[in-house]
Amino acid sequence: MSDAKDIAVVEGRALVQDYHVPGSLFTGGKQVRALKGIDFSVAQGKTLAIVGESGSGKSTLARIIALIDPPSEGELLIDGQPIDITRRRPGPDMRSKVQMVFQNPYGSLNPRQKVGDVLMEPLVINTRTPAAERRERAEAMLQKVGLQPEHFNRYPHMFSGGQRQRIAIARALMLNPRLLVLDEPVSALDLSVQAQVLNLLADLQDEFELTYVFVSHDLSVVRYIADDVMVLSKGEAVEQGSREALFADPQHPYTKALFAATPVTDLDAIRARVQRRREARERQAV
């Protein structure tokens, strides 16, 4: 049984992504290297968080891992198997293994599709599950993510942002994937709802031994959910390591800058700031 555990669920080797930026009538286009050779691997049941600011290439990497875009160079392995989606389209088996949840639950659900149909569609496309069983599984999944079976026939607009993200997560889980790629899944949500969705993700990971690749710009969320962290800046992984090591002792200047910029609600820091303000005001009054 050791082999199944030892092989990483997903592994990237020297992944590179070039985008072609078209020029105007008179100037030629140019290549932009969005990812400059990324290596990583995630073991089963673990969460790799990819942190970075806009333009860092974190969503580009997420799209490669989710088998949406092929990398320009490098190799992606799922369960130890090299995948090249330019040569051969991934079949239903492979598609079932890797699923994705997007940032904006208002954009990622079809407004004309009932929730039940949203959940059953992956089964229709990828499996030969009979209709009755599809419905049964969709209803069961609704309950798993904290919704009710009677939500089956409702449309997405009847749900709040947090509920919609639950629906998107439920859809991603319908095919019993091994790997879930989550691209900023809680950044569009209010704080109180964010906590519920993060708890849900943690519960589901335990129950199904899911592997997560979790893309986020929010260090406090990453600290809560990640096992390993990769810090991306301008297409390069400037720092990679376990959550404990990275948060205890960040090495790279960019990681340190990110930490320094993240607002904290630490009482001593507030006390010091209030004191500084008071002194500044007294100086002005004199």
Binding site: S192, A195, V221, A261, P263, V264, I270
Partner: protein, 279 residues
Amino acid sequence: MAQLNIRNLTVKFATATGSFTAVDGIDLHVDPGEVLAIVGESGSGKSVSMLAVMGLLPDTATVTADEMTYDGRDLLRMSRSQRRKLIGREITMIFQEPIASLNPSFTAGFQIEEVLRLNLGMSRKQARARALELFTAVGIPQPEEKLKSYPHQMSGGQSQRVMIAMAIASNPRLLIADEPTTALDVTIQKQILDLLMKLQEDYGMALILITHDMGVVAETADRVVVQYKGRKMEEADVLSLFESPKSAYTRALLSALPEHATGDRLPTVSEMFLREDAE
């Protein structure tokens, strides 16, 4: 005397299914030179109450208040022309989406000079010189070049700096910033907040900061108002709010911060509390 004083503000929207109360009896004041943070989640009415002050709500909104005064002057009974003299000069506002706040068809320089000419009656030449001064004050690199740039040629952080430059052009006494850094990366957010705080201190203006982010509150505010579903849950100075929050809602919000997670699970703003409060 308070710079802005609001008592029992209620804002109702006429909708197809009847009237909807977005702000329900809010009391609020900000003193000269003070930084007030209004915190709440979506639907708390935090933006709506400030849009009511600015007179920027659509016609479907009904605004009532026992008092809404700026510097002792009654904003509710003021004529439109009197109000226009205040808004955009003494009271200015910046918004969440800096790129959407700028007109894509005109250069940044043209847009800020327009503000200076129309609101402050400057000549073109004066406006050009003052615009350059303001761009320098808000820390835009190569300010002369950037005056000639169009919004799409600037980053989000730079666009927000342009918006701030416009907002402080008239030396306002009150600046209202509605989620000014929500669309920006954390490192840029830090720069913009530092800039706002520096300008606030240099110019001695009052600043109302509308935000959903407790971290932003902790790093900027003197005093905090917490809103939930159109009502004020709590009002306190910033240290007391984080040290000993009085309302159950504030406590729930603070404990839902991932940085406060102690075990495996995050405490959530419990459904129980939400139901209790809705009644």
